[in-house]
């Protein structure tokens, strides 16, 4: 037991990757800053086809890498919440290569077809689930310049593709010809169709404020620092942000709305009969949708790709000496901030999943039809009246802005402080026995 009492970090100084973790992080950071500057330099001179091919390759790479990272991350988050360690072996540092190993395993697994399944539809279902989730990234801006197609209707384009994913789930459940699968699929259809309505009503509120569906335009409205983020303009936008987040939880099949794959009731729900890479495609789609939902929440309500500091401050730094340019690159880099905010919302989704119990289907429906729908409709009406009667520069609007900013700031600081507390005391939370066993934890 003496080992438990000694300072844990001193027992074993990291394995290979742990030693290089910081340089790798720094290189990645510098690379992403360089990338943030790249489009302005590279884009205008290239032919359209080259740009499109680059954009598509970039999107596919991003989605695949993000899904692999998020699966590992989810396992770590789940483990920490349950006082475990999660994957620790593969690759060395905190099992970072676990997803890679899983992917290799899934690649070589047998692709099973059931005798009773509808084969073409069974094959098609995985693609129909995955392709829309991938395509919506084509219209998702990572900053004003970092977007494959800046559509006039970007927001509803993404909404349409988020809605199409349900077809894959329905089809998977039906084509498997399995009771549990079809129950899962029916639940998903029911939940998805219901929650699209409050989702739409919640989205109308920022659209009403911005007066456009172009995501880059909505994002650039919010470049004047933290108080200018759309969620903090007035209380109705703040409520809309919360409603939007809850509705996206339901449409991404995340807990407490993960009924379609309720493990304790339906084996694994709609993907019970899937194996190998086809099965993995469903998870790729789910994590891609999670990130898209988080990024959309950030773009619509939480300042898009802008930092909490006003963008004005950065303008002079951009042409200043090298250190100012570097600082500007870190502080005001669009893609970094958007990915950061997206990851934060993905983290909140994971956190909720491992904290809240799954609710019953009738409770899901009750929450949607009796609570969220009336609230979203009243909220839209109230926001419209507010916008009609209260001018943007009036005292009332400024007071509302100040109060909402304070609420938002306190919430965010509280969440970050909780995370920091957990991180600081992670050894205590995990328990001495585990620490003794895996000193790197």
């Amino acid at each position: 037991m003496a080992a438990c009492l000694s300072p844990v970090g001193a027992v074993r100084v990291g394995t290979g990757v742990q030693k290089f973790a910081f340089p790798i992080f720094l290189i990645l950071l510098l690379a992403s800053i360089a990338l943030a500057w790249a489009p302005a330099l590279l884009w205008p001179n290239k032919p359209l086809l080259v740009r499109d091919v680059l954009a598509v390759v970039g999107v596919v790479a991003f989605v695949s890498l993000f899904a692999m990272f998020a699966i590992w991350w989810e396992r770590k988050v789940a483990a920490r919440i349950q006082s475990r360690l999660g994957p620790m072996r593969v690759g060395g540092w905190h099992g970072w290569a676990q997803s890679l190993a899983d992917g290799l395993k899934l690649f070589q697994k047998e692709d099973i077809f059931l005798a009773g399944a509808d084969r073409p539809l069974y094959r098609l279902a995985a693609y129909i689930a995955f392709v829309p989730a991938l395509c919506l990234f084509l219209a998702l801006p990572f900053s004003t310049a970092w977007i494959a197609r800046d559509l006039d209707v970007g927001l509803i384009f993404i909404l349409a593709l988020l809605g199409l994913g349900v077809l894959g789930v329905l089809l998977a459940g039906w084509a498997s010809n399995n009771k549990w699968s079809i129950y899962g699929a029916m639940r998903e259809a029911c939940q998805m169709i219901s929650y699209e309505i409050p989702l739409g009503f919640a989205l109308l509120v920022p659209i009403l404020t911005a007066g456009t569906l172009r995501l880059t335009a909505i994002g650039d409205l919010q470049d004047a620092g933290f108080p200018s983020w759309l969620a903090f303009h007035n209380p109705f936008l703040l409520i809309a942000a919360v409603l939007f987040f809850v509705a996206t939880l339901a449409s991404c099949k995340r807990a407490p709305f993960d009924l379609p794959e309720a493990e304790s009731e339906l084996v694994a729900g709609y993907h019970t009969e899937y194996s190998g890479f086809r099965w993995a495609l469903f998870f790729f789609a789910e994590y891609a949708e999670m990130f898209a939902a988080g990024a959309l929440a950030a773009i619509l309500f939480f300042g898009a790709w802008h930092s909490p500091l006003p963008a004005e401050w950065g303008r002079t730094w951009r042409s200043g000496p090298l250190w100012q340019q570097a600082l500007h690159g870190v502080l005001f880099s669009g893609p970094l901030w958007l990915i950061g905010k997206g990851l934060f919302f993905v983290y909140v989704q994971m956190w909720l999943r491992w904290t809240l119990p799954r609710i019953r289907l009738d409770q899901v429906m009750y929450a949607c039809v009796q609570v969220m729908l009336p609230l979203a409709m009243l909220n839209l009406l109230a926001h419209a009246v507010w916008q009609w009667l209260v001018p943007a520069d009036s005292l009332l609007a400024q007071i509302a802005n100040g109060v909402c900013t304070a609420i938002g700031a306190v919430t965010i600081v509280a969440i970050l402080a909780t995370i920091a507390y957990g991180l600081f005391h992670r050894r205590r939370l995990v328990g001495t026995l585990v620490v003794d066993h895996r000193p790197g934890a």
Binding site: L48, L49, G116, A117, D118, P120, L121, L124, L151, D152, V153, I156, F157, L159, A160, L161, G163, L164, V166, L167, L170, L171, W174, A175, N177, I182, A185, M186, A189, M192, I193, G211, T212, L213
Partner: protein, 182 residues
């Protein structure tokens, strides 16, 4: 290849998808496969709209037809069909009626193609969402409101239809569980 021939290539690829899945929709004997072929057709038409830079129309096509209608179709199928292997074949009378309607539509469309005048050129500016919204709420206000009233009537009707009959306590599966659905 220049951009025009790329566009032609994309058009033919999408056209093959639309026509092929329309054919599949007619020839399939399984109702879910028919619905998926319909998705191919409707989604392909949405792609054609995107190709014509009518992005708003394309996105609405995706939401309303490919998304909404198909979810409802598949939903309806799941509640009605008894097993995966059910075969659907049209009766001779139905086939005859369908042929007549198809020929009438074909003749009408070909006549329209030959007589109509077609605008060409870039329509990116004229099809902006803001302009469509403005036109809907000014020039076309009455038809727009009429459509809204129609939808409202449909919703009230649906709400009326799903009311439970009588005051009998709800059994598991609802008061009007579908009969013969084993």
């Amino acid at each position: 290849m220049d951009s025009a021939s790329w566009e032609a290539l994309a058009f033919y690829a999408v056209a093959i998808l639309v026509a092929g899945s329309a054919l599949g929709c007619v020839l399939a004997t399984n109702i879910v496969r028919m619905a998926m072929c319909l998705l191919g057709t409707l989604g392909g038409v949405a792609l054609l709209y995107f190709l014509l830079t009518a992005t708003f129309l394309g996105v609405i096509q995706l939401i309303v037809y490919a998304g909404g209608t198909l979810i409802l179709i598949v939903f309806g199928i799941m509640l009605t069909s008894r097993s995966v292997g059910e075969r659907l074949r049209p009766r001779p009378g139905e086939a005859l009626a369908a042929t007549v309607i198809f020929l009438a539509l074909l003749v009408g469309l070909v006549a329209l193609l030959h007589t109509g005048t077609w605008a060409s050129g870039n329509n990116e500016g004229t099809l902006s969402v803001a302009r469509i919204g403005q036109e809907l709420l000014t020039t076309w206000l009455v038809p727009f409101e009429l459509a809204s009233v129609l939808l409202l009537a449909v919703m009230i009707g649906a709400a009326y239809l799903v009311q439970p009959l009588g005051r009998a306590p709800r059994e598991p599966g609802g008061p009007r569980s579908t009969e013969g659905d084993s």
